[in-house]
């Protein structure tokens, strides 16, 4: 997914691979939309399993570093507390619904990955919005 990134986003982009519509062939057939605040949303629907994978890409990779390692440190610390939730609260929310959450940093983008059961999507989006 990251390879699409430099061309399509303003500052942030969300890619959602989800279970909604039947897929006739194997093409990913992504759909693109832009929210009022500029957030680009790319979605691709697959129905076979009740799960959703979300990739939040933020244009904040190491190429924007003023000081070496800052971009990576910031990305890694995203899941260790926000204004609304402490690190243990984030972990407990993620663990209780059996989701998998990780944050990392590449040269172009910082990214947060979340894999979640479809029934818990609202909880997942609420968590991601915090970052």
């Amino acid at each position: 997914m990251t390879k699409f990134f430099p061309r399509v986003v303003t500052s942030v982009c969300v890619v959602i691979l989800a279970a909604w519509a039947p897929l006739l062939d194997a093409a990913l057939a992504p759909k693109r939309s832009v929210l009022d605040n500029g957030l680009v949303l790319l979605t691709s629907q697959q129905r076979s399993l009740p799960m959703v994978s979300i990739e939040l890409l933020i244009e904040a990779g190491s190429r924007y570093d003023n000081e070496e390692g800052v971009a990576n440190l910031v990305a890694r610390l995203l899941t260790y507390g926000t204004k609304r939730r402490s690190a243990p609260q984030i972990s407990d929310t993620v663990d209780f619904i059996g989701a998998s959450l990780s944050a990392s940093c590449g040269e172009d983008a910082a990214s947060v990955s979340l894999t979640i059961l479809k029934k818990d999507l609202a909880t997942g989006l609420d968590l991601l919005a915090d970052f």
Binding site: D25, A26, P50, A87, S91
Partner: protein, 425 residues
């Protein structure tokens, strides 16, 4: 060829060819790719003292050609056709596989049938491949402190059962293996009646079954391979093993003997790993990593899917300068708490949610699905997969406490401790 039955829950279909080769098929049309796997019921568990590493060595030599496929040509043909292939050996099984587009999977199917019957295990390639395997051992065990600790801990935890030997083999054993050993192993274990095929992905049953039949049914049935009867006697008293090796951080590994799928306790033991160490909110992580900063990482592992009883292990990689004894005390305190007090209903529910969601996430790839079907089939039958989620849902807080008391018994554990040194070893 007889159609046996279809499992509604997993939609796997089972067929058995006249020569005893079982075929398990799962159609999944999400993407136009197919995974084809051949599982041989042989691994280091079937090896004898002095011959460790034989199954893994044979796995390497299976890429050295047949009368119709030149040495190393197999991998080139798969890659040239856009596929990905590999093989692996465990203590219980040896597995060969490729994932390819649906129109190309027949190439893999025919080459697997060919090497099941006609592998040359060429003499010219034997000595050079031995060096490759010895180098693999240096890279993956001798040069990896935690892997080396795992190897020596298993060698102490088991006294009789072949699980005490490493899959890759001891260095001297690899050196002493002969080509004839490989030929004998191949003849004895690589028969259709000692193997099964798993196919998952975008294929049509009507098209693929005749192809499988044409390629594999002509391979004659072999004699029944000998059964492994070794049984590990009950451990009486804790064992300890220290490994001093060039490394940066100490590591603690606690290995408790635990049953496999044959025991109904397997579900509660699976949940116990999550109760102890599932995610950052788990007591082990919260206490040792987040609060006390004694460890860099912690984990609890248990696999019910093994031929013979395996282990329940708790591991911790320590922060620099921390004492293994202190980390052991903390782990024991947390384990004692689960033995003496019932966990909360919420913590049980949290553990179940984690197990169920991973079960669903694991089905996201056709390779993952084929692996799951294959590992259950190798260990008592793929149909047990269907009972898994129900088994997990039935576990109570009392069950968690009971299995913790029964299996996390210090008299039946082996503790391995890695002590970092600065010496080159």
């Amino acid at each position: 060829m007889i159609a046996v039955e279809v499992s509604r829950a997993t939609a796997v279909q089972e067929f058995v060819l006249d020569n005893g080769l079982k075929v398990l098929l799962l159609e999944d049309h999400k993407s136009p790719a197919v995974t084809f796997q051949v599982w041989y019921r042989v691994g280091s568990r079937n090896e004898k003292d002095g011959k460790s590493g034989l199954s893994h060595f044979l796995e390497h030599m299976m890429f050295k050609g047949t009368p119709s496929i030149k040495p190393e040509e197999y991998s080139r043909i798969i890659a040239k056709n856009g596929g990905r292939s590999n093989a692996f050996t465990t203590s219980d099984v040896t597995v060969y596989f490729a994932t390819m587009s649906r129109d190309k999977i027949g190439i893999e199917l025919e080459m697997e049938a060919d090497r099941m019957a006609n592998a040359l295990l060429g003499d010219t390639y034997f000595e050079p491949e031995k060096k490759v395997i010895q180098e693999e051992r240096r890279l993956r065990t001798d040069d990896k402190p935690v892997a080396a600790l795992d190897e020596v801990t298993s060698a102490v935890a088991y006294t009789v059962h072949p699980y005490r030997r490493p899959v890759i083999g001891w260095m001297d054993d690899i050196q002493n293996l002969s080509r004839q050993d490989l030929v004998d192993h191949y003849k004895l274990y690589y028969a259709p009646n000692n193997a099964f095929i798993v196919i998952a992905g975008d294929f049509s049953m009507e098209e693929i079954l005749p192809k499988i039949k044409a390629a594999f049914e002509k391979i004659p049935r072999g004699p029944e391979p000998p059964k492994v009867r070794a049984e590990e006697p009950p451990q009486r008293g804790e064992r300890r093993v220290f490994l001093k090796k060039e490394a940066e951080l100490p590591f603690v590994m606690m290995f408790y003997h635990a049953p496999n799928l044959k025991s109904p306790d397997n579900f509660a033991l699976d949940l116990l790993t999550v109760v102890l160490a599932g995610g950052r909110s788990s007591p082990l992580y919260h206490d040792l990593v987040y609060q006390k900063r004694l460890a860099r990482s912690v984990d609890a592992n248990y696999s019910s899917v093994s031929m013979d009883p395996g282990g329940f292990s708790i591991t911790a990689q320590l922060m620099p300068g921390k004492e293994p004894a202190e980390v052991e005390r903390e782990i024991d305190t947390l384990a004692d708490k689960i033995k003496s007090e019932l966990i909360s209903e919420r913590d049980l529910q949290k553990a179940k949610n984690q197990v169920e969601s991973s079960f669903i996430f694991a089905q996201d790839s056709i390779f993952g699905q084929a692996m799951k079907i294959g590992s259950y089939e190798a260990n008592g039958g793929w149909r047990q997969m269907d009972q898994y989620i129900d088994g997990i849902r039935r576990v109570t807080r009392e069950d968690i406490q009971r299995v913790a008391r029964e299996y996390l018994d210090r008299d039946r554990r082996t503790v391995g401790v890695l002590i970092p040194t600065k010496d080159k070893t």
